[in-house]
């Protein structure tokens, strides 16, 4: 199994960051909060975009609290949804 966490961005956030996703070693991101912190540290110019109102899904399930991450997890960050 990979030791990476797979991070995906969608919609306005994807456009603003200029990237659809990236891989983060799970050692750098043992949980969601650590992952978000790491993203801002590694890419300081992302800070403003990452500090807006974003939703978070882990393995395609929305979550509102911090939770531990394990290798192979898929974490998605995206703006509030506007379908329908």
């Amino acid at each position: 199994m990979s030791h990476l966490v797979h991070v995906k961005f969608f919609a306005r956030l994807r456009e603003e960051l200029g990237v659809a996703g990236l891989e983060v070693p799970v050692e750098e991101a043992p949980d969601l909060d650590a992952l978000k912190h790491w993203l801002g540290e590694a890419h300081p110019h992302w800070q403003p975009m990452l500090s807006g109102r974003l939703l978070t899904a882990v393995n395609q399930t929305m979550t509102q609290t911090n939770q531990p991450l394990k290798p192979g997890d898929e974490v998605a960050l995206f703006p509030p949804v506007t379908g329908g």
Binding site: A11, P79, V81, T82
Partner: protein, 159 residues
Amino acid sequence: MTATTTERAIEIRVGPEDFTLQAEYDALCASNTDDGAVVCFVGRVRDLNDGDAVQRLHLEHYPGMTEAVLTRLADQATERWPLNRIRIIHRVGDLHPADQIVFVGVSSPHRQAAFDGASFLMDCLKTEAPFWKKETGPDGTSRWLDARQSDETLAKRWT
């Protein structure tokens, strides 16, 4: 004479293909004499949104998660109301005014259950299913739509 039992079914589709209301309705009704009530909702692209003229609407989604969320919502609906059949379709990609975006259809023995189930599915789809709309106006400028507080309020009715 023994009572027939209508086969319960949930169908979820996400993709660029258009849909035909009659075909979805026929699927809700086929071999179904238990359900006296069918409610269908269709969402369409308007040519004016919040006062802005719309020439094109792009629908982005999170493949895999959209289907998972819609399936979970349909399961929740069948737990809350006697709905024998549920069909949900959501299109993605580039759409234009008057195009169909979304279909929610349910069948039930009871009218109120059918209305409530369809309302519930649309309200929760609007706030939980990972779709995003980007509008392009006649001058070519694009903007991502913001989520609406009114949709949050409608969805909270069901919690």
